[in-house]
Symmetry: C2
Subunit: 87 residues, 2 copies
DNA sequence: AAACAATGTAAGGATATCTGACAAGAGAGT
DNA sequence: ACTCTCTTGTCAGATATCCTTACATTGTTT
């Protein structure tokens, strides 16, 4: 199927992320503030998220539900970027 | 890859469709008015489009550029739905 | 010329998002 | 108990986006 969106293409406004993740806007902005996610912005300064971002939010949510705090999530993500090296 | 969006999941506001298709908002609404596309609406009455919709807009655009008029596009889409039958 | 098709544009109102600030609950440490 | 921090809720004012309706424009058809 050729209709797939590029996973990194930022084309989702916050409300869609809210629906797809069941996170509140406050949570989404807070996780960004904490450096877990770096959405791009459109010309009107509104956040635009990619599929990758949404996936990441789902992981964050899952980890949070398991009792991991933001620092923990950040550490997990950081350790992951080690192994990814070049792509 | 498991991150694919359902193709029929309506999660794109009109501005994203504009960017992805290079159609104007006017054109998008007009094509809807003509019955070519039936976007769903969110709670605030704003149009929400699916990947299927976006693909369809790209076909519409291509056909229009080839000189086909709206009635022609409609006919082409209609003839296609014959063959799709049950799914 | 008149009518139609397709698109642009503008106005006024409704909805969504932004930032910044303050509040509140839970948990940790003193 | 008191204080501090973490996380989230909520509110307010400003900006951005989207809605519908209406009128204008350009090209084509009759």
């Amino acid at each position: 199927m050729k209709s797939d969106i590029q996973r990194r293409q930022a084309c989702f406004p916050i409300r869609v992320v809210m629906e797809m993740t069941n996170l509140s806007a406050r949570q989404i902005r807070y996780y960004e503030e904490q450096g877990l996610i770096k959405p791009s912005r459109n010309e009107g300064n509104q956040r635009m998220f990619s599929l990758d971002d949404i996936e990441k939010f789902q992981e964050i949510k899952s980890l949070i539900q398991q009792g991991v705090n933001i620092a923990g999530v950040k550490a997990i993500f950081a350790s992951r970027e080690q192994k990814e090296g070049t792509d």
